[in-house]
Every structure is written in C-alpha cells, then in structure tokens.
C-alpha cells in the first residue's frame, strides 16, 4: 500500500538530516508500528507520509504511484491523528467535527463515534474546555470522519485512561478488520504488541529492525527456562536452554525441589526496544 525507498529528509532550517535513508513497506490491511526513542524521527516520517513536509529525497509510493503524483484528493483516503490534539478551541466539539466533515466527499455519522468515545454528552462543550483525554478522543474521531482507508496515528493512546485506551484500541482493531491500513507510532509497548502486525524501529533517523512482534521476540528472546526453587531455606535460580529441558537433570530438579516459579525466557517488546535502540546508541 505504501512503499518507502531510501527516504531522506532535512528540515529547512537544520543542517543535519533528520531521516537518513530508510526503507519500509506498509502492507494493505495491516497495522504497522513505527517505534523508536524520542526525537528519532517518527513524527517527522508520519508528516512526510501525509505530505505535510515537502521536499524529501527518495521515493514514496502510495497504491503503486508516487506520492508526489497525487493531488489533494489523496486526503479523501486518509485520516490523521497528530501527536498533539488539534481543534478550534472556541468551537464546540460538534462544531469542530461538522466543519471538518464538510471538507470531505465521503463521510460517516459522528453520533455513534461520539457515543462510543464517551463524548456525546459533552458534544456542545467548547473544545478548549475539554480535558486532555477528551481532546485526544475528539482528535481520534476527527481522523475517522471521512471513513479513511489509511489511518496515521501518532501516539494515539498517549494520555488516555485505561478504559478509553481500551475502547480506542478496539476501534483501531475493528478498523483493520474492515480492511483498513494503519500507520501507528507509540511508546506504549503493550499497545504495540497487541495491535501491530509488524513493527519497525527507527533510531536516529535510521531503521534498525523490521518484523512482526512475534518474530522479534523469538529472535531477541533467550530460548531458556528459568526455574526458581528453595534449597536449604534459600531461593536458588537455574536457567536451562530449550534443548536441556528434555534431559533428566531438568526433570529431576522439578521432582526433587520445592519449585517457586517457572518462566520461559521469551522477552517483551519493551526489552527488545531497549536492546535495539540501546545497542544502536552505544554502537
């Protein structure tokens, strides 16, 4: 759906390139997670993909054609959530949505969205008087207004309470179920793990890894089992490689000792994040 080849970008006032030559592909119908430490260039990449930042080097293809060849009807297709919620502060939530809705040809009914996001009761409140979480939810609804084919979400759940984050994640998953494609950045690794089909790590303008969370866990996880048990009143821990667990030594331990915990050594996305981005920083 979106192919990026050797993308480089320098902000007009900067001397250094912020994006230093990256390649990746977002496939139709997937949720693609874009991860990386602060200031790595995630938001910049999103802003290039939505054509807000112009003058990039390299190639970006959208649906098989250069992004540059599209006219402004490209925007009929996409929905955008910026990192910071955006609205006309002196207009009510409903007035904001009504205004933006009229800019598109194809639109959806906002009532179910507002209800689902818990903003229906407050729809006539000024957006400037919304709490942070309310603004974030309104922002998400705005991105969905034109029934987009591709959603660009820059840290969408950042700043939401767990219940609303749950609802938003469900809506993102339902969007994918209906055939939508999502480009998502987030610092919340559990969200990424749950939502994303594939992720890419960007560090200082360069990509480090690109794979499914499951494959990354297999790659970075230690294929071990860690057993904690009591011996003479002390807590002892032992690690076995996956090959070792078929040996008698392992079974003997399980049978003879007072076992406290058993953990497989598969890592979390968080560990991978630290490993991938940390190594890069030292290297």
């Amino acid at each position: 759906m979106i192919k990026v080849r050797n993308l480089r970008y320098k902000y007009p006032n900067n001397r250094e390139y912020t994006i230093k030559g990256i390649d990746f592909e977002i496939r139709e119908g997937e949720i693609f997670g874009f991860l990386g430490p602060s200031a790595a260039g995630k938001s910049t990449t999103q802003k290039i993909l939505i054509r807000l930042l112009k003058g990039y080097e390299g190639e970006i293809e959208y649906n098989g054609k250069s992004l540059l060849s599209y006219r402004d009807d490209f925007y009929e297709d996409i929905g955008v959530c910026f990192e910071m919620p955006i609205s006309f502060s002196k207009l009510t939530a409903m007035e904001n949505l009504e205004f933006f809705k009229k800019l598109y040809r194809r639109t959806v009914d906002v009532e179910p969205l507002l209800k689902r996001m818990g903003l229906w009761e407050d729809r006539d409140k000024k957006a400037g008087e919304y709490s942070k979480g309310m603004k974030i939810r309104l922002n998400f609804i705005r991105a969905m207004l034109n029934n987009p084919r591709v959603l660009f979400l820059d840290e969408p759940t950042n700043g939401l309470d767990p219940v609303n984050a749950r609802i938003m994640k469900d809506m993102i998953l339902e969007f994918k179920e209906r055939g939508g494609t999502v480009f998502l950045t987030s610092h919340i690794m559990s969200d990424v793990d749950e939502l994303c089909d594939r992720v890419a790590f960007i560090v200082d303008g360069l990509l480090r890894e690109e794979d499914s969370p499951r494959n990354l866990k297999l790659k970075y996880g230690k294929r071990t089992v860690k057993v904690e048990y009591k011996e003479n009143g002390n807590l002892v821990a032992r690690e076995f490689g996956m090959a070792e667990i078929r040996t008698p030594a392992f079974f003997e331990l399980l049978q003879s000792k007072e076992i406290e915990t058993i953990h497989s050594g598969e890592t979390t996305l968080e560990d991978i994040f630290i490993q991938v981005t940390g190594v890069a920083l030292r290297g």
């Binding site: 807000l52 402004d72 910026f82 006309f88 007035e95």
Partner: protein, 241 residues
C-alpha cells in the same frame, strides 16, 4: 467550489466565535461615533478615510489574526491534511475579507445616511473597496509569513505603513517634487486612497484605470510568485504537532 463555500462559512463562524467580529464592530462604532461630531459637508472629506482604513488596516489585522489563531492552535495542519487545496484556503481568506469590507460599506453608509443624510457615489466605492480589500488580504498574508506572533504582525504592519506612507508625507511637505509625486500612485496605500476617494471627488479617469489595473496586477503577481509558493513553507514552519 463547494469546498470554498464551506471554508468561507467556517471562517465567518470563527470570526464570530473568536470575537473578531465584535472587535471589528467596536471599531465601526467608533467611526460612527466620530462621524457624529462632523457636519455633513466635512464628513464627505473624512468618510473615504474610514473606508480606506477598513479595507487596508482592518483587513490586514483580521487576516493576520485568523492566520495567527490557526497557526497557534495548529488547525491549519488539520485543514491541510484534508482535501482542501492551498489555493482554496488562501482564496477563502480573500473572499471573507472582501465580504467583510462590503458589510462595512453597507453599515457605515447606512449610518451616515440616517444620521446626517450623507450620500456619495456608491458605484465607485464598492468596486474600490473590493479590490483594495482583496489586495490587502494578500498583503496581510504575506506580512504574516514574516511574523512570529500577532504583535510582530502589528510591527510589520506599522513598518509597511511607514515605508509606504513616508513618500506621500514627503510629497505633501514639498520635499518630493510635483513631478515625482505623480508616481506615488504605485504605492498600494496611495493607490487605495485614490480609488476610494473617487466616491466623493473627481479623479482623473486614467488614474482610476491605472489604479485598478495596478492593484489587480499587484495582487496576482504577489499571490502567484510570493504568497502561494511560500504557503507550503509557512505551513511547514514550526509544525509542532
């Protein structure tokens, strides 16, 4: 075209919600209040100044204020990731300001007529105000590009006025000779003044023709070669979202 209409309506709605209409209305009331103290005959000399200020200064301030709000609240980014084109966005600002100046014409003219029975050539006033407001919207957008905040827009405006009014003042003081002074028509505030003054006094037809052609051409050139090309840069600058 539909989209331009949506943008214009949206802009009017926001001028209202952001109290810019109220601010404009207060200024108009001040003009009406001032007019109260003049005799009908004196008013005729004074009233072009009202329309001149409204179509130049008020236009620049209003367009600057809306651009400033949209930049500050980043809503310009949201608009630019919708199917709205840069041309539609900028053109909507021009249309809104032209309509606004037209409202001023109706409001002030009605007030002067009912208060003092003052009438003047409305058929020369309306096109002058339309062209002056349109060209000054474009000038206002251009000045906003070079302003980091609303107050620096004010400073830019003062510089603009100073630079362009100075030769006129010098001409009035006789420092610039008669022959050279004739060329002052190429300064936009001067051109605007000549076009609008035609509502109350005789103006050489050639000066009117030249004035209209000049302001229209200036607007087109400024738009085509400065305002439109730099718009993307203006949106990109400090896209802190």
């Amino acid at each position: 075209m539909d989209r331009l209409l949506v943008l214009v309506k949206g802009e009017f709605n926001r001028l209202n919600k952001y109290n810019l209409f109220t601010a404009h209305f207060v200024v108009l009331m001040v003009w009406v209040g001032l007019a109260w103290f003049f005799e009908a005959a004196e008013l005729k000399a004074f009233v072009p100044f009202i329309f001149l200020m409204d179509a130049t200064m008020m236009t620049i301030l209003l367009v600057g204020a809306t651009l400033f709000y949209e930049k500050q609240e980043h809503t310009i980014n949201s608009i630019m990731v919708s199917p709205v084109t840069g041309d539609q966005y900028l053109l909507s600002k021009v249309v809104v300001n032209v309509l606004n100046s037209f409202v001023t014409v109706v409001f002030i003219s009605a007030a002067l007529y009912f208060m003092k029975g003052v009438v003047y050539n409305y058929f020369l006033l309306v096109p002058a105000v339309v062209v002056v407001a349109a060209s000054h919207t474009i000038i206002g957008i251009w000045l906003s590009y070079h302003a980091k905040s609303f107050s620096s827009l004010l400073v830019n405006y003062i510089i603009y006025v100073f630079v362009f009014l100075l030769p006129t003042v010098l001409a009035m003081l006789g420092i610039i000779g008669e022959a050279a002074a004739r060329f002052l028509i190429v300064l936009p505030p001067d051109t605007a003044n000549i076009l609008i003054s035609a509502m109350v006094r005789e103006v050489d037809p050639w000066r009117l023709v030249f004035g209209y052609a000049y302001l229209i051409l200036l607007s087109v050139v400024l738009y085509r070669y400065i305002v439109r090309p730099w718009f993307d840069w203006y949106v990109m600058r400090e896209v802190g979202v």
